[in-house]
Protein backbone atom coordinates (compact mmCIF):
# COMPACT_ATOMS: atom_id res chain seq x y z
CA UNK A 1 0.00 0.00 0.00
CA UNK A 2 2.76 2.44 0.96
CA UNK A 3 4.78 1.78 -2.17
CA UNK A 4 1.56 2.06 -4.17
CA UNK A 5 1.08 5.60 -2.96
CA UNK A 6 4.46 6.57 -4.39
CA UNK A 7 3.45 5.51 -7.88
CA UNK A 8 3.09 8.53 -10.18
CA UNK A 9 -0.11 7.13 -11.71
CA UNK A 10 -1.70 6.96 -8.26
CA UNK A 11 -0.61 10.51 -7.40
CA UNK A 12 -1.94 11.89 -10.70
CA UNK A 13 -5.21 10.01 -10.26
CA UNK A 14 -5.56 11.37 -6.73
CA UNK A 15 -4.68 14.87 -7.94
CA UNK A 16 -7.30 14.78 -10.69
CA UNK A 17 -9.95 13.41 -8.35
CA UNK A 18 -9.25 16.21 -5.83
CA UNK A 19 -9.47 18.92 -8.51
CA UNK A 20 -12.69 17.30 -9.72
CA UNK A 21 -14.09 17.06 -6.19
CA UNK A 22 -13.45 20.78 -5.75
CA UNK A 23 -15.35 22.03 -8.78
CA UNK A 24 -18.02 19.33 -9.00
CA UNK A 25 -19.20 19.49 -5.40
CA UNK A 26 -19.60 23.25 -5.96
CA UNK A 27 -21.42 22.90 -9.30
CA UNK A 28 -23.45 20.08 -7.79
CA UNK A 29 -24.76 22.50 -5.19
CA UNK A 30 -26.32 24.53 -8.01
CA UNK A 31 -27.47 21.49 -9.97
CA UNK A 32 -29.27 19.98 -6.98
CA UNK A 33 -30.77 23.35 -5.95
CA UNK A 34 -32.05 23.88 -9.48
CA UNK A 35 -33.37 20.34 -9.74
CA UNK A 36 -31.50 19.60 -12.99
CA UNK A 37 -29.87 16.38 -11.82
CA UNK A 38 -29.16 14.87 -15.23
CA UNK A 39 -27.92 17.99 -16.97
CA UNK A 40 -24.34 16.67 -16.94
CA UNK A 41 -25.38 13.61 -18.94
CA UNK A 42 -27.14 15.81 -21.50
CA UNK A 43 -24.17 18.11 -21.97
CA UNK A 44 -21.68 15.23 -22.10
CA UNK A 45 -23.84 13.63 -24.78
CA UNK A 46 -23.96 16.92 -26.70
CA UNK A 47 -20.15 17.03 -26.58
CA UNK A 48 -19.91 13.41 -27.75
CA UNK A 49 -22.23 14.21 -30.63
CA UNK A 50 -19.89 17.10 -31.52
CA UNK A 51 -17.07 14.57 -31.93
CA UNK A 52 -19.34 12.40 -34.06
CA UNK A 53 -20.06 15.36 -36.35
CA UNK A 54 -16.33 16.11 -36.54
CA UNK A 55 -15.52 12.54 -37.59
CA UNK A 56 -18.37 12.63 -40.07
CA UNK A 57 -16.89 15.80 -41.58
CA UNK A 58 -13.59 13.97 -41.98
CA UNK A 59 -11.56 15.44 -39.12
CA UNK A 60 -9.23 13.33 -37.03
CA UNK A 61 -10.79 12.54 -33.65
CA UNK A 62 -7.81 13.95 -31.75
CA UNK A 63 -7.50 17.12 -33.81
CA UNK A 64 -8.06 20.64 -32.53
CA UNK A 65 -10.86 21.04 -35.08
CA UNK A 66 -12.72 18.08 -33.56
CA UNK A 67 -12.31 19.55 -30.07
CA UNK A 68 -13.66 22.92 -31.21
CA UNK A 69 -16.64 21.34 -32.98
CA UNK A 70 -17.36 19.30 -29.85
CA UNK A 71 -17.15 22.47 -27.75
CA UNK A 72 -19.61 24.20 -30.12
CA UNK A 73 -22.10 21.39 -29.62
CA UNK A 74 -21.63 21.59 -25.85
CA UNK A 75 -22.60 25.25 -26.17
CA UNK A 76 -25.62 24.30 -28.31
CA UNK A 77 -26.57 21.86 -25.54
CA UNK A 78 -26.12 24.60 -22.91
CA UNK A 79 -28.29 26.94 -24.97
CA UNK A 80 -31.03 24.31 -25.33
CA UNK A 81 -30.94 23.62 -21.58
CA UNK A 82 -31.21 27.32 -20.72
CA UNK A 83 -34.06 28.15 -23.11
CA UNK A 84 -36.06 25.01 -22.32
CA UNK A 85 -36.89 26.16 -18.80
CA UNK A 86 -40.52 27.26 -19.03
CA UNK A 87 -41.43 30.18 -16.76
CA UNK A 88 -44.52 28.51 -15.36
CA UNK A 89 -42.97 25.02 -15.07
CA UNK A 90 -45.88 23.39 -16.88
CA UNK A 91 -43.35 20.88 -18.10
CA UNK A 92 -40.60 20.08 -15.58
CA UNK A 93 -37.19 21.29 -16.76
CA UNK A 94 -35.78 17.81 -16.15
CA UNK A 95 -38.11 16.44 -18.84
CA UNK A 96 -36.48 18.66 -21.46
CA UNK A 97 -33.02 17.79 -20.15
CA UNK A 98 -33.85 14.12 -20.63
CA UNK A 99 -35.16 14.80 -24.12
CA UNK A 100 -31.99 16.72 -25.02
CA UNK A 101 -29.94 13.74 -23.82
CA UNK A 102 -32.02 11.24 -25.77
CA UNK A 103 -31.92 13.43 -28.88
CA UNK A 104 -28.13 13.74 -28.96
CA UNK A 105 -27.71 10.04 -28.12
CA UNK A 106 -30.04 8.98 -30.93
CA UNK A 107 -28.39 11.34 -33.43
CA UNK A 108 -24.96 9.93 -32.48
CA UNK A 109 -26.14 6.38 -33.12
CA UNK A 110 -27.72 7.33 -36.46
CA UNK A 111 -24.64 9.20 -37.62
CA UNK A 112 -22.44 6.28 -36.61
CA UNK A 113 -24.67 3.51 -37.95
CA UNK A 114 -22.10 2.75 -40.65
CA UNK A 115 -19.07 4.26 -38.89
CA UNK A 116 -17.95 1.91 -36.15
CA UNK A 117 -14.63 3.61 -35.52
CA UNK A 118 -16.58 6.50 -34.05
CA UNK A 119 -18.52 4.22 -31.70
CA UNK A 120 -15.25 3.31 -30.02
CA UNK A 121 -14.48 6.99 -29.77
CA UNK A 122 -17.80 7.74 -28.10
CA UNK A 123 -16.99 4.97 -25.63
CA UNK A 124 -13.58 6.52 -25.08
CA UNK A 125 -15.23 9.88 -24.38
CA UNK A 126 -17.56 8.48 -21.76
CA UNK A 127 -15.32 5.79 -20.24
CA UNK A 128 -12.25 7.61 -19.04
CA UNK A 129 -10.00 6.02 -16.43
CA UNK A 130 -8.38 8.05 -13.70
CA UNK A 131 -5.48 5.61 -13.70
CA UNK A 132 -4.24 6.42 -17.18
CA UNK A 133 -4.55 10.21 -16.93
CA UNK A 134 -1.38 12.16 -17.67
CA UNK A 135 0.33 14.99 -15.82
CA UNK A 136 -0.52 17.31 -18.75
CA UNK A 137 -4.19 16.51 -18.28
CA UNK A 138 -3.91 17.24 -14.55
CA UNK A 139 -2.34 20.65 -15.26
CA UNK A 140 -4.88 21.43 -18.02
CA UNK A 141 -7.94 20.73 -15.89
CA UNK A 142 -6.45 22.55 -12.91
CA UNK A 143 -6.05 25.71 -15.05
CA UNK A 144 -9.40 25.27 -16.82
CA UNK A 145 -11.37 24.61 -13.64
CA UNK A 146 -9.65 27.49 -11.85
CA UNK A 147 -10.77 29.75 -14.71
CA UNK A 148 -14.35 28.49 -14.43
CA UNK A 149 -14.13 28.82 -10.64
CA UNK A 150 -12.98 32.45 -11.03
CA UNK A 151 -15.95 33.27 -13.32
CA UNK A 152 -18.30 31.70 -10.81
CA UNK A 153 -16.68 33.54 -7.91
CA UNK A 154 -16.96 36.83 -9.76
CA UNK A 155 -20.66 36.39 -10.57
CA UNK A 156 -21.47 34.38 -7.45
CA UNK A 157 -24.37 36.57 -6.31
CA UNK A 158 -26.30 36.12 -9.56
CA UNK A 159 -25.63 32.37 -9.87
CA UNK A 160 -26.61 31.66 -6.28
CA UNK A 161 -29.67 33.87 -6.42
CA UNK A 162 -30.96 32.04 -9.51
CA UNK A 163 -30.21 28.64 -8.01
CA UNK A 164 -31.81 29.38 -4.65
CA UNK A 165 -34.71 31.61 -5.56
CA UNK A 166 -35.40 31.84 -9.22
CA UNK A 167 -38.59 33.91 -8.91
CA UNK A 168 -36.85 36.51 -6.78
CA UNK A 169 -33.94 36.66 -9.21
CA UNK A 170 -36.28 37.21 -12.15
CA UNK A 171 -38.23 39.84 -10.19
CA UNK A 172 -35.06 41.77 -9.43
CA UNK A 173 -34.49 42.24 -13.15
CA UNK A 174 -31.90 39.51 -13.81
CA UNK A 175 -32.20 37.98 -17.29
CA UNK A 176 -32.29 34.37 -16.10
CA UNK A 177 -31.96 32.83 -19.56
CA UNK A 178 -28.71 34.70 -20.28
CA UNK A 179 -27.26 33.81 -16.88
CA UNK A 180 -28.46 30.24 -17.22
CA UNK A 181 -26.61 30.02 -20.52
CA UNK A 182 -23.40 31.26 -18.90
CA UNK A 183 -23.89 28.76 -16.08
CA UNK A 184 -24.54 25.77 -18.35
CA UNK A 185 -21.79 26.80 -20.78
CA UNK A 186 -19.13 26.84 -18.04
CA UNK A 187 -20.67 23.73 -16.52
CA UNK A 188 -20.54 21.96 -19.89
CA UNK A 189 -16.88 22.89 -20.27
CA UNK A 190 -16.06 21.27 -16.93
CA UNK A 191 -18.26 18.22 -17.37
CA UNK A 192 -16.98 17.25 -20.81
CA UNK A 193 -13.35 17.40 -19.63
CA UNK A 194 -14.13 15.43 -16.48
CA UNK A 195 -16.15 12.80 -18.31
CA UNK A 196 -13.27 12.27 -20.70
CA UNK A 197 -10.90 11.74 -17.75
CA UNK A 198 -13.01 9.84 -15.26
CA UNK A 199 -16.08 8.49 -17.06
CA UNK A 200 -19.67 9.61 -17.05
CA UNK A 201 -20.82 7.72 -13.96
CA UNK A 202 -18.07 9.02 -11.67
CA UNK A 203 -18.76 12.58 -12.77
CA UNK A 204 -22.47 12.15 -12.11
CA UNK A 205 -21.84 10.70 -8.63
CA UNK A 206 -19.32 13.27 -7.51
CA UNK A 207 -21.62 16.01 -8.77
CA UNK A 208 -24.85 14.90 -7.14
CA UNK A 209 -24.12 12.80 -4.04
CA UNK A 210 -22.06 15.33 -1.97
CA UNK A 211 -24.65 18.17 -2.23
CA UNK A 212 -27.45 15.71 -1.39
CA UNK A 213 -25.61 14.61 1.76
CA UNK A 214 -25.00 18.26 2.64
CA UNK A 215 -28.75 18.90 2.47
CA UNK A 216 -29.25 16.25 5.18
CA UNK A 217 -27.34 18.33 7.67
CA UNK A 218 -27.74 21.98 6.85
CA UNK A 219 -29.84 24.52 5.05
CA UNK A 220 -27.24 27.26 5.08
CA UNK A 221 -25.30 27.82 1.88
CA UNK A 222 -21.85 28.04 3.46
CA UNK A 223 -22.24 24.86 5.51
CA UNK A 224 -23.71 22.95 2.57
CA UNK A 225 -20.75 23.88 0.38
CA UNK A 226 -18.28 22.92 3.12
CA UNK A 227 -19.97 19.56 3.74
CA UNK A 228 -20.23 18.91 0.00
CA UNK A 229 -16.53 19.54 -0.53
CA UNK A 230 -15.54 17.37 2.43
CA UNK A 231 -17.71 14.48 1.28
CA UNK A 232 -16.42 14.71 -2.30
CA UNK A 233 -12.79 14.69 -1.15
CA UNK A 234 -13.27 11.85 1.34
CA UNK A 235 -15.27 9.81 -1.20
CA UNK A 236 -12.67 10.28 -3.92
CA UNK A 237 -9.71 9.43 -1.67
CA UNK A 238 -11.41 6.44 0.01
CA UNK A 239 -12.59 5.19 -3.39
CA UNK A 240 -9.14 5.38 -4.95
CA UNK A 241 -7.43 3.76 -1.94
CA UNK A 242 -9.98 0.93 -1.91
CA UNK A 243 -9.51 0.42 -5.62
CA UNK A 244 -5.76 0.12 -5.06
CA UNK A 245 -6.05 -2.12 -2.04
CA UNK A 246 -8.56 -4.54 -3.58
CA UNK A 247 -7.47 -4.08 -7.21
CA UNK A 248 -10.83 -2.93 -8.51
CA UNK A 249 -11.76 -0.44 -11.26
CA UNK A 250 -11.34 3.07 -9.86
CA UNK A 251 -14.54 4.73 -11.09
CA UNK A 252 -17.08 2.34 -9.53
CA UNK A 253 -15.01 2.26 -6.30
CA UNK A 254 -15.37 6.04 -5.91
CA UNK A 255 -19.09 5.80 -6.63
CA UNK A 256 -19.64 3.07 -4.04
CA UNK A 257 -17.60 5.03 -1.47
CA UNK A 258 -19.83 8.08 -2.01
CA UNK A 259 -23.00 5.99 -1.79
CA UNK A 260 -21.79 4.41 1.47
CA UNK A 261 -21.17 7.88 2.90
CA UNK A 262 -24.71 8.76 1.81
CA UNK A 263 -26.15 5.69 3.54
CA UNK A 264 -24.18 6.37 6.76
CA UNK A 265 -25.22 10.03 6.72
CA UNK A 266 -28.85 9.07 6.34
CA UNK A 267 -28.64 6.72 9.35
CA UNK A 268 -26.79 9.37 11.35
CA UNK A 269 -29.46 11.92 10.57
CA UNK A 270 -32.28 9.63 11.69
CA UNK A 271 -30.38 8.78 14.84
CA UNK A 272 -29.75 12.45 15.58
CA UNK A 273 -33.43 13.27 15.02
CA UNK A 274 -34.51 10.53 17.45
CA UNK A 275 -32.07 11.70 20.14
CA UNK A 276 -33.35 15.24 19.77
CA UNK A 277 -36.98 14.21 20.18
Amino acid sequence: MIDLLQQPFVLIGLGISLVMAGIHAYLGFHVVSRGVIFVDLSLAQAAAFGYVVAIFAGFNQHSLAAYIISLCFTMVGALLVSVSRLADERVPHEAFIGIIYAGFAALSILFLAHHAEGMELVQEISNGSLLTATITELITITLLYSGVGAIHYFFRRKFFMISENRAQAAASGINTTVWDFLFYATFGLVVTSSVHLAGVLVVFSILVIPPVIALFFSASKGKRLAIGWSVAVVGAVVGILTSLKLDLPTGPSIMVALILILALSSLLRRFAARVRS
Binding site: P8, F56, E117, E120, L244, D247
Partner: protein
Protein backbone atom coordinates in the same frame (compact mmCIF):
# COMPACT_ATOMS: atom_id res chain seq x y z
CA UNK B 1 5.13 2.91 14.91
CA UNK B 2 6.58 -0.56 15.17
CA UNK B 3 3.82 -1.84 12.93
CA UNK B 4 4.59 0.79 10.28
CA UNK B 5 8.27 -0.12 10.40
CA UNK B 6 7.42 -3.75 10.00
CA UNK B 7 5.16 -3.06 7.04
CA UNK B 8 7.80 -0.86 5.43
CA UNK B 9 10.43 -3.54 5.94
CA UNK B 10 8.26 -6.24 4.42
CA UNK B 11 7.52 -4.05 1.44
CA UNK B 12 11.18 -3.22 1.00
CA UNK B 13 12.24 -6.83 1.07
CA UNK B 14 9.48 -7.71 -1.37
CA UNK B 15 10.44 -5.07 -3.91
CA UNK B 16 14.23 -5.07 -3.64
CA UNK B 17 15.76 -6.89 -6.56
CA UNK B 18 17.98 -9.84 -5.81
CA UNK B 19 20.36 -11.43 -8.31
CA UNK B 20 18.21 -14.56 -8.39
CA UNK B 21 15.06 -12.55 -9.16
CA UNK B 22 13.20 -13.62 -12.26
CA UNK B 23 12.79 -11.42 -15.31
CA UNK B 24 9.35 -9.86 -15.07
CA UNK B 25 7.33 -9.99 -18.26
CA UNK B 26 3.87 -8.51 -18.83
CA UNK B 27 1.98 -9.36 -22.02
CA UNK B 28 -1.17 -7.84 -23.54
CA UNK B 29 -2.66 -11.27 -24.23
CA UNK B 30 -2.56 -14.80 -22.88
CA UNK B 31 -1.19 -16.01 -26.22
CA UNK B 32 1.92 -13.85 -26.04
CA UNK B 33 2.24 -14.76 -22.34
CA UNK B 34 2.10 -18.47 -23.18
CA UNK B 35 4.87 -18.18 -25.79
CA UNK B 36 6.91 -16.03 -23.40
CA UNK B 37 6.70 -18.85 -20.82
CA UNK B 38 8.02 -21.26 -23.46
CA UNK B 39 10.96 -19.03 -24.38
CA UNK B 40 11.69 -17.78 -20.86
CA UNK B 41 11.21 -21.06 -19.06
CA UNK B 42 12.06 -20.96 -15.36
CA UNK B 43 13.92 -17.65 -15.70
CA UNK B 44 10.85 -15.51 -16.23
CA UNK B 45 7.73 -14.55 -14.38
CA UNK B 46 4.94 -13.82 -16.91
CA UNK B 47 1.61 -12.05 -16.40
CA UNK B 48 -1.05 -11.28 -18.94
CA UNK B 49 -3.39 -8.29 -18.87
CA UNK B 50 -5.97 -9.50 -21.37
CA UNK B 51 -7.70 -12.71 -20.30
CA UNK B 52 -8.50 -15.63 -22.58
CA UNK B 53 -12.25 -15.15 -22.41
CA UNK B 54 -12.14 -11.36 -22.76
CA UNK B 55 -12.30 -9.23 -25.87
CA UNK B 56 -8.79 -7.90 -26.43
CA UNK B 57 -10.17 -4.82 -28.18
CA UNK B 58 -11.32 -3.45 -24.81
CA UNK B 59 -9.74 -3.69 -21.37
CA UNK B 60 -11.10 -2.28 -18.11
CA UNK B 61 -8.20 -0.63 -16.31
CA UNK B 62 -7.19 -2.01 -12.90
CA UNK B 63 -4.56 -0.55 -10.55
CA UNK B 64 -2.64 -3.83 -10.56
CA UNK B 65 -2.00 -3.54 -14.32
CA UNK B 66 -0.15 -0.29 -13.81
CA UNK B 67 1.69 -1.71 -10.84
CA UNK B 68 2.74 -4.87 -12.69
CA UNK B 69 4.08 -2.84 -15.60
CA UNK B 70 5.83 -0.36 -13.30
CA UNK B 71 7.88 -3.27 -11.95
CA UNK B 72 8.27 -5.19 -15.21
CA UNK B 73 11.38 -5.59 -17.36
CA UNK B 74 9.64 -6.47 -20.61
CA UNK B 75 6.25 -5.64 -22.10
CA UNK B 76 4.87 -7.67 -24.99
CA UNK B 77 2.43 -5.80 -27.22
CA UNK B 78 0.13 -7.40 -29.79
CA UNK B 79 0.49 -4.39 -32.08
CA UNK B 80 -1.36 -3.69 -35.36
CA UNK B 81 -3.57 -1.26 -33.40
CA UNK B 82 -5.15 -4.16 -31.46
CA UNK B 83 -4.05 -3.21 -27.94
CA UNK B 84 -3.92 0.56 -28.05
CA UNK B 85 -5.00 0.50 -24.41
CA UNK B 86 -1.56 -0.89 -23.59
CA UNK B 87 -0.03 2.51 -24.38
CA UNK B 88 -2.06 4.05 -21.56
CA UNK B 89 -0.75 1.43 -19.14
CA UNK B 90 2.84 1.68 -20.37
CA UNK B 91 2.89 5.50 -20.26
CA UNK B 92 1.04 5.59 -16.94
CA UNK B 93 3.42 3.14 -15.28
CA UNK B 94 6.36 5.53 -15.92
CA UNK B 95 8.82 2.68 -15.97
CA UNK B 96 12.01 4.03 -17.60
CA UNK B 97 13.66 0.61 -17.57
CA UNK B 98 10.84 -1.10 -19.45
CA UNK B 99 11.60 -2.68 -22.83
CA UNK B 100 8.54 -2.82 -25.10
CA UNK B 101 8.41 -5.43 -27.85
CA UNK B 102 5.79 -5.28 -30.60
CA UNK B 103 5.25 -8.97 -31.32
CA UNK B 104 3.70 -8.27 -34.74
CA UNK B 105 7.14 -7.34 -36.10
CA UNK B 106 7.94 -9.45 -39.17
CA UNK B 107 4.41 -10.88 -39.51
CA UNK B 108 2.97 -11.21 -43.01
CA UNK B 109 -0.13 -9.14 -42.30
CA UNK B 110 -3.42 -10.18 -43.87
CA UNK B 111 -6.29 -7.90 -44.94
CA UNK B 112 -4.04 -4.90 -45.09
CA UNK B 113 -6.36 -2.29 -46.58
CA UNK B 114 -5.14 -0.88 -49.85
CA UNK B 115 -5.89 2.80 -50.17
CA UNK B 116 -7.42 5.04 -47.59
CA UNK B 117 -9.25 3.59 -44.60
CA UNK B 118 -12.34 5.54 -43.69
CA UNK B 119 -14.91 5.14 -40.97
CA UNK B 120 -17.52 3.75 -43.37
CA UNK B 121 -15.59 0.46 -43.50
CA UNK B 122 -16.42 -0.24 -39.87
CA UNK B 123 -13.88 -0.92 -37.20
CA UNK B 124 -11.22 -1.86 -39.72
CA UNK B 125 -7.68 -1.78 -38.40
CA UNK B 126 -5.71 0.46 -40.76
CA UNK B 127 -2.65 -1.73 -40.15
CA UNK B 128 -4.41 -4.92 -41.24
CA UNK B 129 -6.11 -7.77 -39.39
CA UNK B 130 -4.47 -8.02 -35.95
CA UNK B 131 -5.40 -11.63 -34.99
CA UNK B 132 -2.10 -12.94 -36.36
CA UNK B 133 -1.34 -15.31 -33.46
CA UNK B 134 -4.08 -17.64 -34.75
CA UNK B 135 -1.74 -18.95 -37.46
CA UNK B 136 0.58 -21.36 -35.60
CA UNK B 137 3.38 -20.60 -38.07
CA UNK B 138 3.27 -17.00 -36.81
CA UNK B 139 3.90 -18.43 -33.33
CA UNK B 140 7.51 -18.88 -34.43
CA UNK B 141 7.84 -15.23 -35.43
CA UNK B 142 6.32 -14.20 -32.09
CA UNK B 143 8.83 -16.47 -30.31
CA UNK B 144 11.68 -14.81 -32.25
CA UNK B 145 10.47 -11.36 -31.20
CA UNK B 146 10.17 -12.44 -27.58
CA UNK B 147 13.65 -13.98 -27.72
CA UNK B 148 15.00 -10.66 -28.95
CA UNK B 149 13.30 -8.83 -26.06
CA UNK B 150 14.44 -11.28 -23.39
CA UNK B 151 18.01 -11.23 -24.72
CA UNK B 152 17.99 -7.46 -24.46
CA UNK B 153 16.79 -7.31 -20.85
CA UNK B 154 18.77 -10.35 -19.66
CA UNK B 155 21.78 -10.87 -21.95
CA UNK B 156 23.42 -13.20 -19.42
CA UNK B 157 20.86 -15.92 -20.09
CA UNK B 158 20.68 -15.47 -23.86
CA UNK B 159 21.86 -19.03 -24.55
CA UNK B 160 19.12 -20.57 -22.40
CA UNK B 161 16.46 -18.44 -24.08
CA UNK B 162 17.72 -19.41 -27.50
CA UNK B 163 17.67 -23.11 -26.62
CA UNK B 164 14.12 -22.76 -25.26
CA UNK B 165 13.03 -20.94 -28.41
CA UNK B 166 14.53 -23.65 -30.61
CA UNK B 167 12.79 -26.39 -28.63
CA UNK B 168 9.45 -24.54 -28.84
CA UNK B 169 9.79 -24.02 -32.58
CA UNK B 170 10.69 -27.66 -33.12
CA UNK B 171 7.59 -28.65 -31.20
CA UNK B 172 5.45 -26.25 -33.25
CA UNK B 173 6.88 -27.73 -36.47
CA UNK B 174 6.02 -31.22 -35.33
CA UNK B 175 2.50 -30.19 -34.22
CA UNK B 176 2.03 -28.35 -37.52
CA UNK B 177 2.43 -31.67 -39.35
CA UNK B 178 -0.06 -33.30 -37.01
CA UNK B 179 -2.62 -30.48 -37.34
CA UNK B 180 -2.22 -30.34 -41.11
CA UNK B 181 -2.95 -34.06 -41.37
CA UNK B 182 -6.15 -33.66 -39.38
CA UNK B 183 -7.04 -30.50 -41.32
CA UNK B 184 -6.91 -32.30 -44.66
CA UNK B 185 -10.29 -33.76 -43.67
CA UNK B 186 -11.89 -30.30 -43.65
CA UNK B 187 -10.01 -28.51 -46.38
CA UNK B 188 -12.20 -25.88 -48.04
CA UNK B 189 -14.88 -26.19 -45.32
CA UNK B 190 -17.08 -23.09 -45.41
CA UNK B 191 -17.70 -21.53 -41.99
CA UNK B 192 -19.14 -18.32 -40.53
CA UNK B 193 -17.63 -16.53 -37.54
CA UNK B 194 -18.88 -13.65 -35.42
CA UNK B 195 -15.98 -11.25 -35.95
CA UNK B 196 -13.09 -11.35 -38.42
CA UNK B 197 -11.04 -13.18 -35.79
CA UNK B 198 -10.16 -16.39 -37.61
CA UNK B 199 -8.75 -14.98 -40.85
CA UNK B 200 -5.19 -16.17 -40.10
CA UNK B 201 -6.45 -19.47 -38.77
CA UNK B 202 -8.46 -20.04 -41.96
CA UNK B 203 -5.45 -19.07 -44.06
CA UNK B 204 -3.28 -21.59 -42.20
CA UNK B 205 -5.67 -24.54 -42.35
CA UNK B 206 -7.39 -23.95 -45.68
CA UNK B 207 -10.91 -23.38 -44.43
CA UNK B 208 -13.17 -20.78 -45.99
CA UNK B 209 -14.71 -18.06 -43.78
CA UNK B 210 -17.55 -17.01 -46.06
CA UNK B 211 -19.13 -14.40 -43.80
CA UNK B 212 -19.45 -12.81 -40.39
CA UNK B 213 -22.36 -12.42 -38.00
CA UNK B 214 -21.31 -8.78 -37.70
CA UNK B 215 -22.19 -6.74 -40.79
CA UNK B 216 -18.89 -4.87 -40.44
CA UNK B 217 -16.12 -5.37 -37.86
CA UNK B 218 -17.23 -3.99 -34.51
CA UNK B 219 -20.84 -3.34 -35.58
CA UNK B 220 -23.78 -5.14 -33.98
CA UNK B 221 -25.72 -7.56 -36.20
CA UNK B 222 -28.45 -5.87 -38.25
CA UNK B 223 -31.64 -7.37 -39.67
CA UNK B 224 -30.79 -7.02 -43.35
CA UNK B 225 -27.26 -8.36 -42.96
CA UNK B 226 -28.50 -11.34 -40.94
CA UNK B 227 -31.05 -12.16 -43.63
CA UNK B 228 -28.38 -11.97 -46.36
CA UNK B 229 -26.04 -14.13 -44.29
CA UNK B 230 -28.75 -16.78 -43.79
CA UNK B 231 -29.38 -16.89 -47.56
CA UNK B 232 -25.67 -17.18 -48.29
CA UNK B 233 -25.24 -19.92 -45.69
CA UNK B 234 -28.11 -21.94 -47.15
CA UNK B 235 -26.72 -21.51 -50.63
CA UNK B 236 -23.19 -22.57 -49.58
CA UNK B 237 -24.50 -25.22 -47.15
CA UNK B 238 -22.57 -23.80 -44.20
CA UNK B 239 -23.09 -25.85 -41.06
CA UNK B 240 -20.44 -24.34 -38.75
CA UNK B 241 -20.65 -21.03 -36.88
CA UNK B 242 -17.66 -19.98 -34.77
CA UNK B 243 -18.55 -17.77 -31.83
CA UNK B 244 -15.70 -16.15 -29.91
CA UNK B 245 -16.31 -16.60 -26.14
CA UNK B 246 -16.90 -12.87 -25.50
CA UNK B 247 -19.66 -12.34 -28.08
CA UNK B 248 -23.35 -12.85 -27.37
CA UNK B 249 -24.83 -16.19 -28.32
CA UNK B 250 -28.16 -14.70 -29.38
CA UNK B 251 -27.48 -13.74 -32.98
CA UNK B 252 -25.43 -16.88 -33.82
CA UNK B 253 -28.11 -19.14 -32.31
CA UNK B 254 -30.87 -17.35 -34.23
CA UNK B 255 -28.92 -17.84 -37.46
CA UNK B 256 -28.20 -21.47 -36.57
CA UNK B 257 -31.93 -22.08 -36.06
CA UNK B 258 -32.71 -20.74 -39.53
CA UNK B 259 -29.91 -22.60 -41.31
CA UNK B 260 -29.53 -25.81 -39.33
CA UNK B 261 -25.91 -24.93 -38.58
CA UNK B 262 -24.26 -25.60 -35.20
CA UNK B 263 -22.68 -22.86 -33.08
CA UNK B 264 -19.26 -23.74 -31.66
CA UNK B 265 -17.59 -21.65 -28.95
CA UNK B 266 -14.20 -21.18 -30.55
CA UNK B 267 -11.39 -19.85 -28.35
CA UNK B 268 -9.53 -16.99 -30.00
CA UNK B 269 -6.90 -16.94 -27.27
CA UNK B 270 -5.22 -19.21 -24.73
CA UNK B 271 -7.73 -19.65 -21.91
CA UNK B 272 -10.71 -18.91 -24.15
CA UNK B 273 -12.04 -22.35 -23.31
CA UNK B 274 -10.83 -24.74 -20.62
CA UNK B 275 -9.08 -27.00 -23.17
CA UNK B 276 -6.97 -24.21 -24.61
CA UNK B 277 -4.43 -24.15 -21.79
CA UNK B 278 -1.43 -22.93 -23.77
CA UNK B 279 -0.47 -21.87 -27.28
CA UNK B 280 -0.19 -25.43 -28.58
CA UNK B 281 -3.42 -26.70 -27.00
CA UNK B 282 -5.23 -23.64 -28.38
CA UNK B 283 -4.73 -25.13 -31.85
CA UNK B 284 -5.44 -28.66 -30.61
CA UNK B 285 -8.80 -27.26 -29.47
CA UNK B 286 -9.61 -25.34 -32.66
CA UNK B 287 -8.58 -28.18 -34.96
CA UNK B 288 -10.52 -30.58 -32.72
CA UNK B 289 -13.68 -28.46 -33.02
CA UNK B 290 -13.48 -28.50 -36.81
CA UNK B 291 -12.78 -32.23 -36.89
CA UNK B 292 -15.85 -32.81 -34.74
CA UNK B 293 -17.86 -30.40 -36.90
CA UNK B 294 -16.92 -32.36 -40.03
CA UNK B 295 -18.02 -35.61 -38.37
CA UNK B 296 -21.28 -33.98 -37.24
CA UNK B 297 -22.05 -32.89 -40.75
CA UNK B 298 -25.68 -33.72 -41.52
Amino acid sequence: MRKILLVALTLWSATATAPWAKVKVVASSTDLASIAREVGGALVDVNSIGQGKSNLHFVEMLPSYMLQVSKADLYLKIGLAMDQWADGIIDGSRNDKLTVVDCSKGIDVLEKPSGKVDASMGDVHPDGNPHYWLDPRNGKIIADNILEGLTKVDPGDAATYKANRDAFEARLDQKWQEWSNVASAFKGLPIVSYHSTFVYFAHAFGIDVIGYVEPKPGIEPTASHTAELIDLMKQRQVHVIFREPYYSERAPQAIAKETGAIVYTAPSSVGGTDDAKDYVSLFDTLVGILKQATENRP
